[in-house]
Symmetry: C3
Subunit: 100 residues, 3 copies
């Protein structure tokens, strides 16, 4: 079994977005995802600390075109109104038949 | 101190596999690992949601040959019977003498 | 909106370092970070298990020069006295205006 190159998408976002984000991921083609809890703190501009609190850390491993669609959707739908960061990297993946 | 290129292996698996997986990692050459809790949801084939629940997210940073041995072992030992995804990426690593 | 290449820094460290590490990150130029809980186990040298317990998993996405400064600081300040691992990788990042 040979690992397959795919794109790991990681999203750090507010809890209130859990349901809409996971629905978005499924609709855009993700076959699975994992959600962890993190505490975050961030700053913007002049202030040392503009927000802090519990956030979601969502990971999904998807084909590159699905990753691009996810990021484009996040930016268009959420970035004006929510604190969110999303980043991608290429990973080599093995999945069991039970997983996906 | 210069960062060293190594392979980060991430494994998302069912809780029941915690003890066997960590024993496997040690036996195959990992000198340390971290385990976090995630919630997961996955689909396979025709069904929109085939499993969901709490999973382990295990990370270990190892030489490339150890990573290859880990992935080969996971596929041979677990993939027929368990929902599991494993992925690797290359990272630049610094470790304290206290760590490993 | 185009993803920007940045450096993801991941630090696994003892809980006691939470406050000093996050202060370090801010001072060295990180605009935000996320902290998760992991359980860890590590070995060094001859012993099969030298430490285990709860650790912090801190992530921050920063420019490459900030990442280099963070790793150099960690090595100089903490590596002699604490169990710690830090690793970096390049990621493609989108951030909302609300985030940073």
């Amino acid at each position: 079994m040979t690992p397959v190159p795919m794109t790991l998408v990681t999203i750090i976002a507010e809890h209130v977005l859990r349901e809409p984000l996971t629905a978005d991921l499924r609709r855009l083609g993700a076959r699975g995802y994992s959600i962890g809890e993190v505490e975050g703190e961030g700053t913007r501009g002049l202030h040392t600390q503009d927000w802090q609190g519990k956030n979601l850390r969502i990971e999904t491993v998807v084909p590159a075109d699905v990753a691009a669609a996810i990021l484009a959707h996040l930016a268009a739908r959420y970035f004006d109104d929510y604190a969110m960061i999303a980043y991608t990297s290429t990973v080599a993946v093995l999945r069991s038949g039970k997983f996906a």
